[in-house]
């Protein structure tokens, strides 16, 4: 039974929404999650790549939602040269359909309630104060009251707009993506591949994330400001025709990844934004699952604390912002400046970069080495990069 009132209503049951719900419920709040789709996790708009260290703090690793374990990353430059990276820790390609549901189940186990096929339509306000959510469910428009709304509604981020927060991103801060799941391949199950270049994937990259030794998520993200005449699909189709001419496409999905820095405003009185909705994705890799979960765990705890103290004002909720900036937000800002560098990199520079990487023994080659070389010639950014790696090592273990 859906009640008329909860302490916290979470909109969106992606990884960010489920983790926020779980932490709020675990710490004593009554929580309702509204999810528009019929099931959390579908359609899968994701290449499903995550690091072990990123997800392990939030859920016990379960082979039900792991398709493959990744030990090697391969970077390929526009001239076709490749560099291998071995020591970046263990990665996984997930089955997000199952993973997202498992995160929801965990939230439910801690007392949160989930309603699927429930589309949030607007915030309910009284004298400008947010007091609940209007949503569509089973052919009827309904209302639920709450003290805090957590907006975890993903890329589209409309809930924030309803609260008067500017959530729109610039064209250069969105990657427009298409991904195929391909079958009939002959690939290495432990290697993720990345292809760069202005002819290959302008302002982004093509990825091959294996789900088995014969299937993979093969997709592309190109920068929004470089997509118009030619969209991502034209680039991907060319790549796939050359690389996997005999493959079968078993799944096609489109999507957008915000590659911005976190929004200026992620809290207001009675509301917090988390995950893609708050633009918390890693702007270089486009990875948002772990970042969203980290932010959501902070927001969930702060929400529960707010309920206990009866403080729903922005001033109190800003604890979430502060903690997020300390944990990852500040690093993300640096990553965003670096992304700007990548965005305008010539093919020659990409070639040189991969060439440089090739000379590092693959077991010594790390993202830090790559980024440091990429921003060479920009002393301030170099320093920032070095700092960001110190910070993320401490915080993310």
């Amino acid at each position: 039974m859906i009640k008329d009132r909860y302490d916290v209503v979470v909109i969106g049951a992606g990884p960010a929404g489920s983790v926020a719900a779980r932490y709020a419920a675990e710490n004593g709040a009554s929580v309702l999650m509204l999810e528009r789709d019929r099931e959390p996790g579908i359609p899968v708009r994701c290449a499903e790549g995550v690091s072990h260290n990123g997800i392990a703090p939030f859920i016990d690793i379960d082979k039900r939602w792991i398709a493959s374990q990744i030990d090697i990353a391969m970077l390929t430059s526009p001239n076709g040269e490749s560099a291998l990276m071995h020591n970046n820790g263990i990665g996984y390609v997930l089955e997000r359909r199952i993973f997202d549901t498992a995160l929801c189940e965990l939230a439910a186990k801690h007392g949160a309630q989930l309603v699927t096929k429930a589309n949030a339509l607007d915030l309910i306000k009284e004298n400008d104060k947010i007091i609940g959510v209007k949503y569509r469910y089973m052919g009827k428009t309904r209302e639920v009251k709450c003290d805090i709304v957590i907006a975890a509604d993903g890329t589209e981020s409309r809930v924030g707009r309803w609260a008067g927060i500017k959530t729109a991103v610039a064209l250069r801060d969105i990657d427009t993506c298409v991904q195929y799941t391909l079958a009939g391949l002959d690939i290495k199950k432990d290697t993720c591949e990345f292809y760069f270049g202005n002819e290959v994937s302008p302002g982004g990259y093509i990825w091959i994330f294996p789900k088995s030794d014969s299937t993979a998520n093969v997709g592309i993200g190109i920068s929004g400001h470089l997509s118009h005449e030619k969209g991502p699909r034209e680039y991907l189709d060319k790549f796939v025709a050359q690389k996997f001419p005999n493959a079968t496409i078993t799944y096609t999905v489109y999507g957008g990844v915000p590659t911005a820095a976190t929004l200026e405003e992620i809290v207001k009185d009675n509301i917090m934004l988390v995950g893609d909705a708050a633009r918390q994705v890693n702007p270089i890799t486009g990875g948002g699952v772990v970042q969203g979960m980290i932010a959501a765990s902070i927001a969930g705890k702060v929400a529960a604390e707010a309920i206990k103290k009866g403080r729903f004002d922005a001033k109190f909720l800003k604890k979430y912002r502060k903690e997020w900036d300390k944990t990852l937000g500040n690093t993300q800002k640096i990553m965003h400046s670096m992304k700007e560098k990548f965005l305008f990199m010539t093919d020659e520079r990409f070639n040189n970069l991969v060439n440089f990487c090739k000379k590092i023994p693959s077991d010594k080659f790390s993202l830090k080495a790559l980024f440091t070389e990429a921003v060479k010639g920009d002393p301030k950014l170099m320093l920032d990069v070095a700092k960001s790696f110190v910070v993320s090592k401490i915080k993310l273990k």
Partner: protein, 56 residues
């Protein structure tokens, strides 16, 4: 602006770049309110499925 529903994948990318919140989404359909739309073309440029065209 007009969404070609046959091509639209309901991915929300257009919504993320719309400066005026003219685009609404449900589980089954994405719609543009041309009373709000300012014809900035952002959505048309980023739509990965090329499911948006000019006109009402």
């Amino acid at each position: 602006m007009k969404v070609i529903h046959e091509l639209c994948d309901i991915c929300g990318t257009c919504v993320a770049v719309c400066p005026v919140d003219a685009i609404s989404v449900s589980e089954f359909i994405v719609e543009i309110d041309n009373n709000i739309c300012t014809n900035c073309l952002n959505c048309l440029k980023v739509c990965p499925a090329k499911a948006i065209e000019e006109g009402e």
